[in-house]
């Protein structure tokens, strides 16, 4: 049983590590996406006001979209888990 607890602990750690890595990767992808969409001129090494505003909008839009998609995705996963459990019972 001590072993089971230890496995549980390692799984939790692993999940946390993955979540950190995942959110940092998502951060980088968001920068790349919005930079690619919003920045076109290289006459200066600073973002101009228009570019900055575009980046802010792009971020907000993507993050809100992702929130919504996360909700829906979790609902689908829930449903599938329930169906699997039901199928198990009917065996």
């Amino acid at each position: 049983q001590a072993q089971q607890q230890q496995e549980q602990m390692r799984l939790m750690e692993m999940m946390q590590e993955m979540q950190v890595a995942d959110s940092l990767r998502m951060y980088n992808e968001l920068v790349q996406r919005c930079f690619g969409h919003c920045v076109e001129n290289f006459r200066s090494r600073k973002l101009d006001g228009k570019e900055e505003a575009c980046i802010v909008r792009c971020c907000q839009k993507f993050l809100k979209f992702t929130q919504r998609a996360t909700q829906r995705f979790q609902e689908h996963q829930q449903e599938m888990a329930e169906e699997a459990a039901k199928a198990q019972q009917n065996k």
Partner: protein
Amino acid sequence: MNMPQGQGNLDAMKAEMIFVADLFNKMSEMCFKKCVPRFHDGDLNTGEPVVCADRCVGKYVEATNKVGEVMQQLQQGQAPQ
């Protein structure tokens, strides 16, 4: 989606977690491209993209199951249809 259920096997659970995270990331990237082709204003709360997000997630999950079936059929040497 067609993943083995975890049986206390840590490696399999890790593989499954990575798979689901990768699936989710590819899905949200793809659905964003399909549903928000242009970035005009920052607010998604009203209007089309939210509805599109819901439907896109539904279709993507279905497509994932479909592709899984085709892969299994090909591995078993059966031509689908």
